[in-house]
């Protein structure tokens, strides 16, 4: 167990990627990181110093799965038991989706983690496929009109050995999932929820609180598939809609939702309810 993130790195104050990367070091022993372009490329350090105390390969978006699968195959040939982990953003997962999908179909022996801050942050907060409903970004200045894709569910439908969601607000849950995942063979996918202070417009002290609020109002659902689909303990209570915290409180904390009308909030609520209906179906398979 080691903390792989070195102090004094270039991440913004309260950065969710930095918290998430920490969990990797705490859960995994011997691993290599493959990082396509994004904030994490910068966080990884400015030459001649590096931030991450593990080997890192910086790669173009779509090549990440091929690079990771290649390293994984080479380790196997040398009889080395090491994990190869792709750490990418939601934008990377949009742009490189075809190759992630291909890698899942081939069941490459790699771990893919998408640290989802719900926009292309490193290039200036452009909306992605997973950007929250109605959120204001630089490419959706009046609020995102498109629906939000459920990346983890799409990966689940690739019928790979392991798919889970996680959150930087629930580090113990994320670490537990990583610990399980490290001894599973084949393609493993974790979709990590990563609230970003400058991108979502909230104070840097609130990253963890907002991540927890997302779970408590039912907007982000923690689950795991390891052969069987299970809601994670932190999300279980919120299957019951009456137990969910007020969605408005979650939205109010973030500048990207400023000026939403009652009607728009209702639309978001409906979208969240629909999301839970899918989860219930998965639970019953």
């Amino acid at each position: 167990m080691k903390t792989i993130v070195m102090p004094g790195n270039p991440s913004c104050q309260g950065c969710p990627h930095a918290i998430g990367l920490k969990a990797l070091g705490l859960a995994l022993e011997d691993f290599v990181l493959v990082i396509p372009a994004g904030c994490s490329t910068i966080i990884a350090g400015i030459h001649p110093k590096a931030t991450l105390n593990v080997p890192v390969l910086h790669v173009p978006f779509a090549s990440a799965p091929a690079v990771a699968a290649g390293i994984s195959a080479a380790f196997k040939r040398e009889n080395k038991k090491k994990n190869v982990v792709i750490w990418m953003g939601d934008g990377g997962a949009d742009i490189g989706f075809a190759t992630i999908s291909g890698s899942a179909v081939r069941n490459d022996d790699i771990i893919v983690i998408v640290s989802d801050n719900e926009a292309y942050m490193n290039t200036g907060i452009q909306a992605s496929g997973t950007t929250f409903w109605k959120a204001k970004t630089t490419t959706s200045p009046a609020g995102k009109r498109e629906d939000r894709k459920d990346l983890a569910a799409i990966m689940l439908m690739h019928r790979v050995p392991y798919v889970a969601t996680a959150s930087v607000g629930y580090m113990n849950d994320f670490i537990k999932k990583l610990e399980k995942v490290k001894s599973i063979k084949g393609f493993r996918f974790i979709h990590l929820h990563s609230p970003c202070p400058p991108g979502w417009r909230f104070d840097s002290s609130k990253t963890v609180e907002i991540a927890r609020m997302a779970v408590k109002c039912g907007a982000w659902i923690l689950w795991e598939f390891d052969g069987k689909f299970n809601l994670s303990p932190a999300s279980k209570p919120y299957k019951d809609k009456n137990k969910r915290k007020d969605l408005k409180d979650y939205l109010k904390m973030q500048g990207r939702f400023k000026g939403l009308s009652e009607n728009e909030i209702l639309e978001i609520e409906k979208a969240i309810d629909k999301q839970w209906k899918y989860i219930e179906c998965f639970e019953n398979i």
């Binding site: 070195m6 790195n9 104050q13 930095a18 400015i46 590096a50 840097s204 002290s205």
Partner: protein, 84 residues
Amino acid sequence: MQPIDCLISTPDKGSAGKTGLWRTYKPIVDEKKCNSCMVCWLYCPENVITEGEKCIEIDYEYCKGCGICCEVCAKKAIKMVLEE
């Protein structure tokens, strides 16, 4: 083969310089309230919190003053104080 060591970055503190200079607010720990549960250590994005003798210690050379430690502490043992 030409040596390329000079092109390889090595892990070290301060790849972005002395990030303590970024701080507006400084986290101050009350050693009477802190029970060393290390929850703040788990969530500190900058990884500057360590276990001290009486309570946790913060490396102010690199602490960016984000305030997450203050928010996650159930004992309310950390206060954010405006830097002078």
